[in-house]
């Protein structure tokens, strides 16, 4: 335990980056050691994808296509929504692992160490966003395997689609971190995070909003998933995006800021 060479006092930013990347490594190590939670959560969107395509596919595509019952049309319609649903599903895992983590003594240790205070949360967020992206790629691969093809999306549109998915993952992750922080245990965290998987079910992921009952349409329309899904569809399939693009970005930014402020204020409270 000889005294290490005293490092030149690092400035705030480099301290924050260094400690956050240490925490990120810790979270990725957790995810790599215990992949079952992530894989379980991945199962839901994959199952829904297969269920809706192969079991309900004929009926659904008949309803969507307005007559021409072609299953591949419905695959194209379904995949963008399920990619976003994958993010929602992955972030439930974030809420659970944050909640688990906060009950561990190691967090108390971190709080009493001279490290960047936010690094614990930043490590969770960055780790979770990376996991979301990996999950999206996996579900996307299943989609491609069963016949999903983008209709002449340009490189720029692919980049934009990727950016949107990342931004969406960031937004939901910060919200999930907040949910995890206020949940006393893993079960509560999993329950509290239910909206993240429930909202896509009542969005335009499976059926178009204008095919829903009139009284329900506002519920489906005015929530973060629908504009994001419509934007992704537009980017990958060339459908009309309209003002959904701006709406999606606005939702993402608002949720990110909200989740960040919420998580930070909960974290800065005195622990029990």
């Amino acid at each position: 335990m000889s005294t290490p060479l005293a490092p030149a006092r690092p400035n705030r930013i480099s301290l924050a980056v260094r400690d956050s990347s240490t925490m990120l490594r810790r979270n990725l190590l957790h995810a790599r050691r215990y992949p079952s939670l992530t894989l379980n959560l991945l199962l839901t969107p994959v199952m829904l994808l297969l269920l809706f395509v192969y079991v309900f596919g004929d009926v659904m595509s008949a309803g969507i296509g307005g007559g021409g019952a072609d299953r591949s049309d419905y695959i194209a319609y379904l995949v963008p929504g399920l990619l976003l649903m994958t993010i929602g599903s992955t972030t439930i895992g974030t809420a659970v692992s944050v909640s688990n983590d906060m009950t561990e003594g190691i967090i108390a240790r971190f709080r009493t160490m001279a490290i960047h205070r936010g690094s614990v949360l930043v490590g969770h967020v960055v780790g979770s966003v990376l996991q979301s992206i990996m999950s999206v790629v996996l579900v996307g691969a299943v989609g491609v395997a069963i016949g999903f093809r983008s209709t002449d999306a340009t490189v720029l549109e692919w980049i934009a689609a990727f950016g949107l998915l990342t931004l969406f993952a960031l937004a939901l992750t910060w919200i999930a971190v907040g949910m995890g922080m206020v949940s006393p245990n893993a079960e509560a965290a999993s329950n509290n995070a239910m909206p993240l998987i429930f909202l896509p079910l009542i969005s335009s992921a499976f059926v178009p909003v204008d095919a829903m009952p009139g009284w329900f349409q506002p519920i489906a329309q005015y929530q973060p998933f629908t504009p994001a899904i419509e934007t992704l569809r537009g980017l990958l399939l060339g459908t009309e995006i309209g003002n959904n693009g701006w709406l999606a970005v606005a939702w993402c930014l608002a949720l990110t800021v909200l989740g960040y402020l919420w998580s930070k204020s909960v974290f800065n409270r005195d622990p029990k």
Binding site: L5, R33, R111, T112
Partner: protein
């Protein structure tokens, strides 16, 4: 002030209308072991949480390592190491990974980090288990890992919150040895415990915390002087012998339930012989005779009385 590692004045903390700390003053000189002793719920852990920057006090001025706790918490954190009541290890990763995590957070270089981690794992007898997840460790191993992690940053002031609670006797003695070694390196140790034996064994100074207040403070010897001397305890198996002895021995304290009598005594050979002689003369045979010298238990029970404390002499103290 400069020779104090920890100085607290008028520390107060309450949760809702429950007052946990009610004006606590502490002064811990550098390089000593200070023990905060108290029953469950006395506020020991709350005190440690405040002193280690985990939670904030409602009132009071605290300096740790010469830094003002309220104004410079970051500087305080750089000077301290904390091992809490519940293991502060990451159970999902291995012991070695826990150590390297600490090295990274203390901004050691890769090489230095590996060296320090290996050295401490060796010192705490964890090298064989280094590659196993910490969640598979026994209670004693977890505590050792916990302390090893605390030492990575070479802190000058260490808080140990009930470090031996729940450990078997051998692990407890190992832990005591570890704590003694720390202090020989010039580290200041702030130790909370509910075991009087532990405070007696380790601490230079002891403060008894009861009901959010310091009930007494001093060396173990000073505290022992606060209570009257020891006693001899006679236990009987039959009520008849017990009654006979009790009515003959007026100065003894009765414990009707246990069929036992306590006779004030210093425990010297002469005093014991006179008791034995007297028992023989009276034709009374006790089934068990034990000698109790005054220990911190007596101090503890006397100072933290008010709660239900049977089998103890009720003489007024102080």
């Amino acid at each position: 002030m400069t020779d104090l590692a920890i100085a607290a004045n008028g520390l107060r903390k309450s949760y809702g209308d429950k007052t946990v700390l009610d004006g606590v003053d502490l002064a811990v000189p550098k390089g000593t072991i200070f023990s905060l002793l108290g029953p469950n719920g006395a506020g020991k852990t709350t005190a440690v949480k405040i002193l280690s920057t985990l939670i904030s006090a409602d009132d009071g001025v605290v300096h740790v390592g010469g830094h003002d706790l309220a104004r410079a918490p970051h500087a305080v954190r750089a000077a301290i190491g904390v091992t809490g009541q519940f293991s502060a290890v990451d159970g999902l990763i291995t012991g070695e990974e826990n150590m390297l995590l600490m090295a990274d957070l203390h901004h050691l270089s890769k090489r230095e980090g590996r060296r320090v981690a290996a050295e401490l794992l060796e010192r705490f007898d964890l090298t064989a288990a280094a590659k196993k997840p910490a969640s598979t460790y026994s209670g004693g191993m977890k505590r050792r890992l916990d302390i090893a992690m605390t030492l990575v940053g070479d802190p000058r002031i260490i808080f140990l919150d009930e470090p031996t609670t729940g450990l078997d006797p051998r692990s407890r003695h190992n832990m005591w040895q570890i704590i003694r070694e720390l202090v020989s390196d010039g580290v200041t140790v702030f130790l909370t415990t509910q075991y009087l034996e532990e405070a007696d064994e380790l601490a230079d100074r002891i403060a008894v915390l009861n009901d959010g207040k310091i009930a007494a403070e001093g060396t173990a010897e000073e505290l022992k002087r606060l209570v009257p001397g020891g006693h001899v305890r006679l236990r009987f198996t039959g009520p008849a012998a017990y009654q006979a002895a009790a009515s003959a021995l007026r100065e003894a304290t009765r414990d009707d339930e246990a069929l036992a009598l306590q006779i004030p005594s210093g425990g010297s050979q002469r005093e014991l012989r006179s008791i034995l002689d007297w028992l023989d003369a009276a034709g009374i045979e006790a089934d068990e005779l034990t000698v109790h010298t005054p220990d911190l238990d007596d101090v503890f029970f006397a100072l933290t009385a008010g709660t239900d404390v049977p089998h103890q002499p009720k003489e007024a103290v102080r």
